[in-house]
């Protein structure tokens, strides 16, 4: 069991955005997190990567309870994430974005950096090569030296994935990776997610695009009003009447 939550809750003021959610995620699988707008999906994701501190409950990742720790400690534990509203480093090029993603793999002493010691120069070259390889992997090789603020939306979505992968995470949280993409770009994302599985990266994805969700995930979790409404295999969840009602309203039944 790679990630397990126990009664995980997050309240803002009096509103429980996530309410006593207990889930289990197996290593090497693709989990989808779906639910109507406002169901708490992004909040749950933010909890799982340490951006929000839980009000209650535990988050056990690879045997360690991470609840209450700082965000960068979640990253250090092996959790990566992409953002729904792009949080690309717009003040850098695509290559630099991905190189920055490798931060955890490059302990860099002050003196070594300031004095440009030979070991540092070698590490820098290795970093650059690996970042280039990742850009190649997500299909962004031609954008290598382009400032991120000059790149198209679809490319930026893939850039975020490349950056997150640079840290070699065990668990990757994708927040609406296909949002705003056309069918061609969405197929790209689909291909990418499949290839992540072969790289033994566990994926949790929040998505509204049902076709993508059903096609790529082994396990689907439905949230509604901050609570788990249903979970299971994609086909089973899709047929679940309570899920249909939550999304489409009682009349749709």
């Amino acid at each position: 069991m790679l990630l397990r939550t126990e009664e995980l809750s997050k309240a803002f003021g009096g509103v429980a955005a996530v309410d006593a959610v207990s889930i289990a995620i197996e290593e090497g699988t693709v989990h989808a997190l779906i639910g109507p707008n406002g169901a708490g999906k992004t909040t749950l994701l933010n909890l799982l990567c340490g951006i929000y501190r839980p009000t209650r409950g535990r988050i056990v990742f690879a045997g360690r309870d991470l609840a209450g720790r700082a965000t960068h400690e979640y990253a250090a534990a092996g959790i990566g994430r992409t953002f729904q509203n792009l949080q690309v480093f717009f003040n850098m090029t695509a290559l630099e974005n991905v190189m920055t993603g490798r931060h955890l793999l490059e302990p860099c002493g002050f003196a070594a950096a300031a004095l440009r010691l030979p070991a540092r120069v070698r590490e820098e070259r290795a970093c650059r090569l690996e970042a280039e390889a990742l850009l190649e992997f997500v299909g962004l090789a031609q954008w290598r030296d382009t400032p991120a603020d000059a790149m198209p939306y679809g490319a930026l979505k893939r850039l975020e994935i490349a950056r997150a992968l640079a840290a070699r995470p065990r668990l990757l949280l994708l927040d609406e990776p296909a949002a705003g993409l056309n069918p061609v770009e969405t197929a790209e994302i689909d291909r990418l997610i499949h290839s992540l599985v072969t790289r033994r990266v566990t994926v949790v994805l929040v998505e509204h695009n049902m076709k993508l969700v059903m096609g790529v995930s082994q396990h689907v979790l439905v949230l509604d009003y901050g609570r788990v409404l249903a979970e299971g295999e994609p086909a089973a969840v899709r047929a679940n009447p309570r899920v249909v009602e939550a999304y489409l309203g009682a009349e749709a039944r």
Partner: protein, 291 residues
């Protein structure tokens, strides 16, 4: 209540009222444009100096005061049009430098137009101190307190009961939504700057008979007014007033009971303490990022 304590309290409230007016000026501009106007203190200086000039030239005091305030308002308008508007969208640091440049420019102009000496404005209704429970109160202090109360009341009425005032408030809450409702943000900004400058000028005029005025009084007064605005909660009108009064009293008490040499430090220590432990200020909002 000992006479000394009462004295410090009265002095503190008087100075605090001035800080409150300056802080209100900051708050109004910050709300309308997210700009910290470092030139705010110079409007305080200009008000006092212009009034002194005109009064010395023989103008009746009320007319001199009115003209000085009008002049400041015009300069505030000029600042908005010539410096702030063209720089719309620039990074925060750049905007800060621009208003600092404006304050240096205004100070330089003041040094040229007037001189480097200290000047006094005649007190509005004489200099005979009033004795109040062992403490003495200058009549001018009553003017300061009275005028501040009237101004605060007028501003409250303006912001909550007039269309223009409400437009200013709307712009401060959500600029885009205000524009979509037909509010001309350009007009709002001009009004905000003119109003702030006028407020600053009034503060400078009110205090000039007591603490005198000179070409460089703007710097400290501006900074302390800003400290007061931060103390009350940047962007909150009521906070600006509260912050000003609390700061004035703290300064007066500190100078009296602890150390008068370090009087100026008190405002900044208070400001630092607020920023480190209660950044929203006494009445300000607590913001959080949405990801």
């Amino acid at each position: 209540m000992s006479a000394q304590f009462a004295q410090y309290l009265l002095t503190g409230v008087t100075v605090g009222a001035i800080y409150a007016l300056v802080a209100l000026g900051f708050a109004i501009i910050y709300n309308a444009s997210q700009v910290i106007n470092f030139a705010q203190g110079e409007f305080v200086m200009l008000g006092g100096m212009a009034a002194v000039s005109l009064a010395n030239a023989g103008w009746p005091l009320p007319v001199a005061v009115g003209a000085a305030v009008a002049l400041a308002a015009l300069l505030g308008l000029a600042l908005e049009k010539l410096a702030v508007e063209p720089a719309r969208g620039a990074p925060v640091v750049t905007l800060i430098i621009i208003t600092i440049g404006a304050s240096i420019l205004l100070r330089g102009m003041a040094m040229l137009v007037w001189d480097k000496n200290v000047h006094a404005l005649p007190a509005f209704s004489g200099e005979t101190p009033i004795v109040l429970g062992g403490a003495t109160l200058l009549p001018q202090s009553l003017w300061v307190l009275g005028a501040t109360l009237v101004i605060v009341a007028l501003l409250a009425w303006f912001f909550h009961r007039t269309l223009l005032g409400k437009a200013l408030l709307a712009t401060s809450h959500n600029r885009l939504a205000a524009q979509l409702c037909g509010i001309s943000v350009r007009h709002v900004l001009m009004v905000a700057f003119a109003l702030s400058a006028a407020l600053g000028a009034v503060a400078g005029i009110l205090i000039a008979p007591i603490t005198f005025t000179a070409w460089d009084v703007g710097v400290m007064l501006g900074l302390k007014g800003f400290a007061a605005a931060i103390l009350g909660g940047l962007g909150s009108g009521a906070g600006a007033v509260l912050g000003g009064l609390v700061l004035g009293i703290a300064e007066s008490m500190g100078a009296g009971y602890v150390s008068s040499a370090y009087k100026d430090v008190i405002a900044f220590v208070v400001m630092l303490a607020v920023l480190m432990f209660l950044p929203g200020g006494l009445l300000g909002a607590r913001a959080s990022d949405r990801v």
